[in-house]
Symmetry: C2
Subunit: 341 residues, 2 copies
C-alpha cells in the first residue's frame, strides 16, 4: 500500500503579507523506510511568527525556506512505522517536520516526549520553544527583580503570556500590552497580570503606560517593535533591560521600518537592548524545560492554547498570527492519536 503525503509548500516568496498564492498543497508518495528511518504521522503543527522571516531570502539566524519545498516548523507526531531501534510505533515524538501529514525521519532528527507529564501539545508551547524563549529571554537578559516593573508586548501570545507569569513569580509588577479587551481580561483575570493596555483602543499609549507604570519601566520584553516599542522607550528607567525577542509589526512591511532612533535614550538611561533567539540557549534547554514543568505542576504557570483543527487550515492559522486574534499558543491539530494516549 502506498501512503500519500499531503504537503504544504512555499509556492512563492511573499511580498508584504503572505496570501493564498504563497502556499500550495501537493501530494507525494511516502517511500519505503530505509534502515534507521522512522515514519511519523503528524498530530500537531506549530505556527509561529518567526516563520515569516524564513519565507524570504536574506541573511538571518536561520536559513530561508526553499521554494517548492515543504514549510518546516515545530511539530508533534506519532511513530507509525520504525526501522530504528530507538523508536516503536505509538511513540509520540517532536521534531521540525512541519506542514505535512507524514514525515520520514532519520532517527536522530526526532525526540520522544512523555505523554504522561502534560498534554502533548504543550511541548510545542509552554514546555517547548515559546516557553523556553520566554524563560531565557526574560531571566537571562531582562533579569527582573522583585518590585521592579516589567512590561511585555504581545502579552497574550505564546511567548508574552509566559513572560508575564514568570515575571510575577519573580515578584515584579507586570503590565501587558495586547490587542483586545478580551485579551486584557485574560491577562489580568486568568494570568494575574497587574495591568493591561489595549493598544488598539488606547487614545494615548504613553499616558496609559505612565498610569500603569507609575514607577517607570525596568524591563521591556519586546515581541512587537514598531510604535509600541517607541512608546515604551519614553518610560524606561535607568539601567532598564530590553530583551528584543520579536518585531511582528515589521515582519510584513514592504518598506523600511522607520521610527525614532534609540541611541539617545540608551545613553541617557544606560539601557541594555539584547536581541536573541532561543537557540542561543540550546545547551540549557533541559534546565529551562524542567523549571517550566515544575512551575506548571505547582500551578504557578498557566497556559492557553488556541487549537485550529485540520491540515488544510494551517496557512490560515499562520496568517491569523498577524491579525492578532489568538490567545496563547496557536496550534493546528492535524490528526488524532491512533495509538493509546
Amino acid at each position: 500500500m502506498t501512503l500519500v503525503n499531503n504537503q504544504i509548500i512555499l509556492a512563492e516568496r511573499p511580498k508584504g503579507m503572505p496570501d493564498s498564492d504563497t502556499f500550495k498543497v501537493v501530494q507525494k508518495d511516502v517511500a519505503e523506510l530505509e534502515e534507521g528511518q522512522v515514519l511519523v504521522r503528524t498530530l500537531f503543527v506549530s505556527v509561529d511568527p518567526y516563520m515569516r522571516g524564513r519565507m524570504q531570502e536574506g541573511d538571518s539566524y536561520i536559513a530561508p525556506f526553499k521554494l517548492n519545498e515543504v514549510i518546516k516548523g515545530g511539530s508533534i507526531g506519532e511513530v507509525v512505522e520504525s526501522k530504528s531501534g530507538r523508536f516503536t510505533p505509538g511513540d509520540v515524538v517532536i521534531g521540525m517536520f512541519g506542514w505535512q501529514e507524514y514525515y520520514t525521519a532519520n532517527d536522530l532528527e526526532i525526540r520522544k516526549i512523555d505523554p504522561s507529564l502534560a498534554p502533548i501539545s504543550t511541548h510545542l508551547g509552554i514546555l517547548g520553544m515559546t516557553g523556553l524563549t520566554a524563560y531565557f529571554g526574560l531571566l537571562e537578559i531582562g533579569q527582573p527583580k522583585a518590585g521592579e516593573t516589567v512590561v511585555v508586548s504581545g502579552a497574550a501570545g505564546a511567548v508574552g503570556s509566559v513572560v508575564g507569569q514568570i515575571a510575577k513569580i519573580k515578584g515584579a509588577r507586570v503590565v501587558g500590552i495586547a490587542g483586545s479587551d478580551e485579551k486584557i481580561d485574560f491577562l489580568k483575570e486568568e494570568l494575574g497580570f497587574d495591568e493591561g493596555i489595549n493598544y488598539r483602543t488606547t487614545e494615548d499609549l504613553v499616558s496609559d503606560l505612565k498610569r500603569a507604570c507609575p514607577d517607570g519601566i525596568d524591563v521591556y520584553f519586546d515581541n512587537v517593535g514598531g510604535g509600541i516599542a517607541d512608546a515604551v522607550f519614553t518610560q524606561l528607567n535607568r539601567h532598564a533591560r530590553i530583551p528584543v525577542c520579536g518585531a511582528i509589526s515589521a515582519y510584513n512591511l514592504e518598506k523600511v521600518d522607520n521610527g525614532p532612533r534609540v541611541q539617545t535614550t540608551l545613553i541617557k538611561k544606560s539601557v541594555l537592548m539584547q536581541g536573541f533567539t532561543v537557540g542561543n540557549y540550546s545547551d540549557r534547554f533541559n534546565e529551562g524545560a524542567m523549571q517550566l514543568g515544575q512551575w506548571l505542576q505547582e500551578g504557578k504557570l498557566k497556559y492557553h492554547e488556541t487549537i485550529i483543527e485540520g491540515f488544510y487550515h494551517i496557512p490560515n492559522a499562520f496568517l491569523d498570527l498577524f491579525k492578532g486574534n489568538n490567545i496563547g499558543k496557536l496550534l493546528v491539530k492535524v490528526a488524532d492519536q491512533q495509538y493509546g494516549k
Copy 2:
C-alpha cells in the same frame, strides 16, 4: 585686594545649535575663604559633547545646567590660597569647576593630581573621563577578542581615538570612521588603525564598510548615532556588541531623530546594544586610570590634544566640537601655572 572672577554662564537654553546668545560672560568678586575652602585658579577647561545635553531641561543621567549659572565641566587648576589642611598653594587639582577663572572649592570637591606622571592636561583626556569612557565602554561592553573587527565612529575624537588603540592592544582589526582625510591619516599613521573611512567624502558608506570589514563587524563603538550607525548596522556579525556612548549627530537636532528601527537586526543577529556613561564605572576609575597610565608609559597608547588658548574662547571651542574639526581631546588653556611645574 578683591579678585574678580570671570564666569561664562548659560544665558538661554539653546534650540538646535548653541550660538552667541547661549552664553554670557559675567564678573563676580571672589569672596574671602572660609575654613575648609580652597581657592583654585583655572588652568585648563575641558569641553565635551555631553555638555550639550545639560544645556536643556529634561530627564537625563545628569541634572541640567541652571539658567544664569556658570557652565560646569571638568577642569584643572592650581591652588592659590587654602584654608584646608589637605591643600597648599601650588597644588594642581582637578574638579568640576567649569567655565570660570577662579573657583572657591570645598576641599572635598577637588582632587590632587601628580604633575610628574604626565602633562597635567592628560587628566582631562586620556587619563581622565574620556580615556575611562573608552576603556570601560570598549572592554566591559564591547569585549573585543583577538581577530575580531572593531569599528569606531568619531574615531579621531577624545574617546574614539583611545577606543581604537585599546582595540588594537587586544588584537582586533580596527576601522575608524571620521570626518576628514587628515583625521584618517592620523588614525592610520599615528595610531595604527587598520582602516579609516571619511564619512564626509564617501560615496557609499555601506560599500566602504564592506571593503574595510571583509569579515563583518563584531564590535561597533558608537559615538555618533544617526546615518553612520544605520550603515554599520547592515554589516554586523552575529553576537555583535555595540557600546552606545554618544549620539553627537542628534544633540543639536530640533526634530525627532528618525531612522530605520533596529529591532529586526538585533533579533536576526542576536546583537547587544548597551547605552552607558562613564559614571556607571566610577567604583573602578582607579583601575582604569592605572591601566591607561601603564599603556601610556609603555608607548602602547598615544594621545593627541587640540588646545585652544584663552578663557574667552571657551564657547567657540565648545561649538567646534559639533563642527568636527578637532583631533583628539579638545581643551581650552585658560592660564599658565604660576607655581613651578
